[in-house]
């Protein structure tokens, strides 16, 4: 493409279909909880 560069896989919708297993770490917006914010969290599936 000449005008647009897509920089990621943009796969959020696919994750909805198979997601929700609940294995991931609890998340908190503060690092005082030794956890992740939602944005930086890894899927543990």
């Amino acid at each position: 493409m000449k005008h647009i560069i897509t920089i990621n896989k943009a796969n959020l919708k696919k994750t909805a279909a198979k997601g929700g297993c609940g294995k991931c770490q609890a998340s908190c917006q503060s690092a005082c909880k030794t956890s992740c914010t939602v944005a930086n969290q890894k899927c543990e599936k």
Binding site: Q25, S30, Q41, C43, K45
Partner: protein, 461 residues
């Protein structure tokens, strides 16, 4: 829904519902103000006419084709079809616990949300071993099929109740096999009581450790004071360095708070990096606006500008091979959490609870002391599932402000406690936090985009 913005010379477009991030040229940036689905096969004449004042018609046509291609691929103007998944936001097993082993502190930090340790309750208390044991049992019994159980030793200052911490770790480990589960113990400390023995135990048993320090000595000592009013920097800095070094700089954070007193907080982040730390969080204080250190909406321009400056500092450091993580800019655009997790958010009150020294159960550490949110007591064997069910439904599609927000899949409806304490309701967004969060996201995405642009440039050479 798309969100487009310019930052650091880059034109960035986020497609909210696919998570797609696009770097676009000026023409595309302008075109996106003039087109939206449904798309026609060819660029509408009126769009060509409007944009041809600045761009060549052939370029406008090819740009339109690219926009339509991305739309057809489902990564631009993608539809919001997530509300149906909100039904999965139901009561879940409890998998994480904040254990307030010590409701007392040896510091008197000006801005402490726990009112310098006692959570505003007027009583300074230690958790006894028996109550701690019951808390761990509660987690083991209520965690369903979850194998990894998170247990955070918190306070006050948890090292003031060290023997109980150690005995609870030992107790937890002794029950793991029987239940087929694994405790991930973590601890948050102000460092005042750290010594070799505690460091070695923490590094052996704790999967993460958070060390509280605000940055530069002058900044830290102005607000993080000992009981006698003197600052704590000199006592804790070397201890934190040793603790991080002893765990090979893995799985830790140095974690600070910035206030109105240090709106140049990027300097504190850099200071912590210069002192040898590479996992850094410096976060805005959330406080009653009447307090002198509180951040208010008037401070937003300065905060935004400082986040932008910090993002540039991080990019410059990266170029020199000096890498560090800034907690609030950490973003995984490809392998992050699933959309269901993003709908649900932090899980407070549902998957996560806090336990006080007296055994009271609250949705999280920040709700402690708010009687209407007391969920029960582990010594009395009570647990109010009505509150749990209420928290299970605190997903973004039940938060009016959130469901229309471009940042919803990255903050997931914000902090329920901040919403309750400062906006009056767990479902009402705390506007100040929203604005700060959105700015951080823009910066975090920009950092990724800047690196992608650099890669693309290298590839084309």
């Amino acid at each position: 829904m798309i969100h487009k913005y310019k930052l650091n010379g880059l034109n960035i477009v986020l497609d909210v519902h696919s998570g797609g991030v696009h770097l676009v040229d000026e023409l595309t940036y302008d075109m996106l103000d003039n087109v939206k689905p449904p798309f026609e096969e060819k660029c509408p004449e009126k769009v060509i006419e409007k944009l041809s004042r600045f761009y060549a018609p052939e370029d406008i046509k090819s740009c339109y084709e690219e926009v339509v291609e991305l739309y057809n691929d489902g990564i631009l103007f993608s539809e919001d079809d997530y509300e149906k998944f909100a039904k999965y936001s139901v009561a879940s097993p409890v998998k994480a616990m904040c254990l307030l082993v010590e409701q007392d502190c040896n510091l008197r930090c000006e801005y402490c949300f726990a009112s310098t340790g006692d959570y505003g309750l007027g009583k300074r208390m230690h958790m006894d071993f028996e109550t701690g044991k019951k808390a761990l049992d509660f987690l083991l019994e209520n965690s369903g099929d979850r194998e990894n159980l998170e247990l955070d030793f918190f306070g006050g200052e948890p090292l003031m109740n060290w023997d109980v911490v150690k005995k609870l770790v030992e107790y937890g480990r002794s029950r793991e096999k029987e239940y087929g589960k694994r405790f991930r113990f973590t601890i948050t400390t102000n460092g005042m009581l750290l010594d070799e023995e505690k460091m070695d135990f923490i590094n052996k048993e704790m999967s993460n450790v958070v060390m509280s320090i605000d940055g530069r000595k002058c900044v830290n000592d102005r607000v993080r004071k000992r009981v006698d009013g003197t600052g704590c920097y000199d006592r804790i800095m070397d201890k934190f360095k040793t603790l991080a070094q002893k765990r090979n700089y893995e799985n830790y954070y140095v974690r600070g708070t910035f206030t109105k007193y240090n709106l140049d907080f990027a300097e504190d982040v850099v200071h912590l990096y210069d002192e040898g730390f590479d996992q850094i969080s410096v976060e805005p204080v959330v406080a009653d606006p009447a307090m002198s250190y509180a951040l208010t909406e008037k401070d937003l321009p300065a905060i935004f500008s400082e986040y932008e400056r910090l993002a540039n500092i991080i990019l410059e450091h990266d170029k020199q091979g000096k890498h560090f993580n800034f907690f609030h800019f950490m973003l995984d655009l490809d392998q992050g959490p699933c959309a269901i997790k993003r709908l649900r958010g932090c899980g407070s009150g549902n998957e996560y609870v806090a336990i006080t020294p007296e055994g009271d159960i609250y949705p999280c550490h920040q709700f402690v002391g708010y009687e209407e949110y007391k969920m029960g007591n582990i010594n009395e064997g009570t647990f109010n599932t009505d509150i749990k069910n209420e928290f299970a439904k605190t997903h973004i599609y039940n938060k009016e402000d959130c469901k229309k927000c471009w940042a919803k899949f990255y903050c997931s409806g914000g902090c329920n406690a901040n919403n309750f304490i400062y906006a009056g309701n767990v479902l009402t967004a705390h506007k100040f936090s929203c604005e700060v969060q959105k700015k951080r996201l823009e910066c975090a995405i920009m950092i990724k985009a800047a690196k992608a642009a650099e890669e693309a440039e290298k590839a084309s050479e």
